[in-house]
C-alpha cells in the first residue's frame, strides 16, 4: 500500500528523517512510535507531500507521490491532526463534506455520506450536522475531525497524534472507536504517537523511531517480547512489561474450548489484562468465554495467563 524507500529529509544540514524505509501493507494499522523530534511526524507529512522529500521515494498504491499533483494526492488520503483544525465558520456537515465537495460529489451523495459518518461516530445527525465547531466538546470535535478525514472514503488515513490533546476518558473512547472503525472499514492507517499504551492498543504493526530511523519494526507482541536493543527496551518500559503483554494478547489465544464455566462471561476480543482484572475483582481463577452472539465457548483460567 505504502512504500517508503530510503527517504531523507534534512533541516539546516541535520537529517530529521535519515534514509528511512518502510512498507505498510493494505489494511494495516501502522503506528510510528517515538519521542518528540524523532522524525515520525515529518515522515507522515511527507506521505501527503505537506513536506517535500529531499531524497528517496514514497509510493502510494504503487504510484510515486511526487508524480501526482499535491492536491489530488491529498484528496485521496485522509488526514487528521492533534489540533484538529475544524473550519470554525462551517457547520459540522460542511466540515465533514470538505473533500467530497472538492471531488464534486452530488449533493444527495454528500448528505448521505455525512449522515453515515456521524452515525459511525455515534453523533446523532439530527443534532450534530448543523452545529458549529465551537459548540462541540473536545472529544466531539476530534470525532468530527476523524469523520472529515474519512469522508471521501480514502484508501489511506494519516493521523498525527489525533488523541494527544483530549482527556484520558475521551481518549479511551476515541481509541475504542478507531479500533472498531479500522476493523469494520479495513482502511490502511498510518498513525503517529509518542504513547506506547496507545500504540500497543491500536497497532497491527509498530515502527519504533529514533533519530530519524526505524529502530524496530514488528507486531506489538514482537516489540514487547523481542526488543531489538536497549533503546526499545527503555522506550517500552522495563517495568510493567508483563501487564503490557497481557494487554496486547486476546482471550481467544488462551481459550480452553468446551469446558463449562459459570458467571458473567468474557468476550473473545477481550484482552488478557481485562481477563486478569475480572478474575482479581471477582476472586475467581476461571471465567467463562462467549462469542459475540453470547454463545458459551469455553473458559479461561488464571494459569493460562502466564502460559
Amino acid at each position: 500500500m505504502i512504500e517508503i524507500d530510503e527517504v531523507t529529509k534534512s533541516y539546516g544540514g541535520r537529517p530529521v528523517v535519515d534514509q528511512l524505509s518502510l512498507a505498510v501493507d493494505a489494511g494495516a494499522f501502522c503506528v510510528l512510535l517515538g519521542s518528540s523530534g524523532c522524525g515520525k511526524s515529518t515522515t507522515l507529512r511527507m506521505i501527503n507531500r505537506l513536506i517535500p522529500i529531499d531524497s528517496g521515494a514514497i509510493r502510494v498504491s504503487g504510484e510515486d507521490v511526487t508524480q501526482i499533483p499535491a492536491e489530488a494526492l491529498r484528496r485521496r488520503i485522509g488526514y487528521a491532526i492533534q489540533s484538529i483544525g475544524l473550519f470554525p465558520h462551517w457547520t459540522v456537515e460542511d466540515n465533514i463534506a470538505t473533500v467530497p465537495w472538492l471531488l464534486n460529489w452530488r449533493k444527495t451523495r454528500v448528505s448521505d455520506r455525512v449522515t453515515e459518518l456521524l452515525e459511525l461516530f455515534r453523533l446523532d445527525p439530527a443534532i450534530y450536522r448543523s452545529k458549529f465547531p465551537h459548540q462541540l466538546s473536545g472529544g466531539e470535535q476530534q470525532r468530527v475531525g476523524v469523520a472529515r478525514a474519512l469522508a471521501a472514503d480514502p484508501e489511506l488515513l494519516l493521523m498525527d497524534e489525533p488523541f494527544a490533546a483530549v482527556d484520558p476518558i475521551t481518549r479511551d473512547a476515541l481509541q475504542t472507536e478507531l479500533a472498531r472503525i479500522h476493523r469494520t472499514t479495513k482502511k490502511t492507517i498510518v498513525f503517529v504517537t509518542h504513547d506506547i499504551e496507545e500504540a500497543l492498543r491500536l497497532a497491527t504493526v509498530i515502527a519504533i523511531m529514533n533519530n530519524g530511523r526505524i529502530v524496530q519494526l514488528g507486531t506489538p507482541i514482537q516489540i514487547l517480547e523481542q526488543p531489538a536493543n536497549d533503546f526499545v527496551r527503555d522506550f517500552v518500559g522495563r517495568q510493567g512489561l508483563g501487564l503490557k503483554l497481557l494487554s496486547v494478547r486476546k482471550v481467544a489465544d488462551r481459550l480452553r474450548r468446551g469446558e463449562p464455566g459459570e458467571g458473567e462471561p468474557l468476550s473473545l476480543d477481550a484482552s488478557l489484562s481485562e481477563a486478569f482484572s475480572a478474575m482479581t475483582a471477582r476472586r475467581a481463577d476461571r471465567l467463562p468465554v462467549c462469542d459475540d452472539a453470547g454463545r458459551h465457548l469455553g473458559i479461561i483460567a488464571l494459569a493460562d495467563l502466564v502460559r
Binding site: Y79, G85, F87, H89, F132
Partner: protein
C-alpha cells in the same frame, strides 16, 4: 420585537437628525441669528448642504474603495509565500503614507493633477491605506495554524484556502480596518475644500476665511454626524458578519 429594536437604534435617530439638518438647515436661521447677531447670511447658501454631502460622499467612496481593494490585495500578497519578503517594505510605505500629512500630499499632487476632486482622492487614498493593510495582514495571519494545516492537508488549493477559509475568517478584522480608514477619510476629506473639491468642509473654510463662525459650525456638525453615522453602519455590518460567521 424587530420594530422596537429598529426604533431604539441610534442609526435611525442620528440618520434622521443628519438628514433634517442637511435638508432644512435654514429652519435654524432665527436661532443662529440670535446667537450670532450681525452675521449675514447666517446659514451657508452658496451650495446646498445636500450637494456638498453627495460630493464628499463620492470622494470618500472612491478613495476608500480604491484603498480597500489595494490594501487587501497587498495584504494578501505579503502573506503568501511569494510575497513574504515584501512585507516590511509594504508596511514601511503604508506607514509613510499615514504619517505624511494629507495637506502636504495636496501640495504635491495639485501641481501634477490640478485642482478639485482628483488631488483630494489621491491624498485620501494614501492616508487611508495603512489601517486597511495592517488589519488585513493581522486578520490573515490570525487564522489558526491548525486550520491552515487542515485545509492544506484536505487538498484545498492555495486559491480555495484563501477564498473559502482565510478571507472569511479574516473578514471581521479586515472590516475593522476599513471602518477606521473610512471614518478618518470622512473627517480628512474636508481639507479637499482648500484645493477646490466640494465637501462639507467648504462652509468651514469659507467661515474661517470670512470670519463667519456659523458656517464653521454648520459644516463641522454635519461632518461629525456623517462620520458617526458611517461608523454605526459599519458596526451593524460587523455584527451581521459575525452572526453569519458563527
Amino acid at each position: 420585537m424587530r420594530g422596537k429594536r429598529f426604533l431604539s437604534s441610534p442609526i435611525l435617530w442620528i440618520g434622521l437628525l443628519f438628514a433634517a439638518l442637511m435638508l432644512r438647515m435654514d429652519a435654524l436661521q432665527p436661532l443662529l441669528q440670535q446667537a450670532f447677531p450681525g452675521v449675514e447670511p447666517v446659514v451657508y447658501n452658496r451650495d446646498s448642504f445636500l450637494t456638498l454631502f453627495l460630493s464628499q460622499l463620492g470622494l470618500v467612496a472612491a478613495a476608500s474603495l480604491a484603498a480597500s481593494l489595494a490594501g487587501v490585495a497587498l495584504a494578501i500578497f505579503v502573506t503568501r509565500p511569494a510575497g513574504r519578503d515584501f512585507r516590511a517594505m509594504v508596511n514601511a510605505l503604508a506607514t509613510i503614507g499615514q504619517t505624511f500629512p494629507p495637506a502636504a500630499v495636496l501640495a504635491i499632487t495639485v501641481p501634477m493633477v490640478g485642482f478639485g476632486a482628483r488631488p483630494t482622492v489621491i491624498a485620501l487614498f494614501f492616508y487611508g491605506l495603512l489601517p486597511i493593510i495592517e488589519n488585513a495582514v493581522a486578520g490573515l495571519e490570525g487564522v489558526a495554524s491548525a486550520v491552515r494545516e487542515a485545509a492544506e492537508g484536505m487538498g484545498l488549493s492555495a486559491w480555495q484556502r484563501l477564498r473559502d477559509v482565510e478571507l472569511p475568517l479574516a473578514a471581521p478584522v479586515v472590516l475593522a480596518g476599513i471602518r477606521v480608514s473610512v471614518t478618518i477619510a470622512i473627517g480628512t476629506a474636508t481639507i479637499g475644500s482648500t484645493v477646490g473639491a466640494l465637501t462639507l468642509g467648504t462652509p468651514i473654510f469659507d467661515g474661517l476665511v470670512g470670519n463667519k463662525i456659523p458656517f464653521v459650525l454648520e459644516g463641522a456638525v454635519l461632518v461629525a454626524l456623517f462620520a458617526i453615522l458611517t461608523d454605526l453602519l459599519f458596526e451593524r455590518l460587523d455584527q451581521r458578519l459575525r452572526v453569519t460567521a458563527n
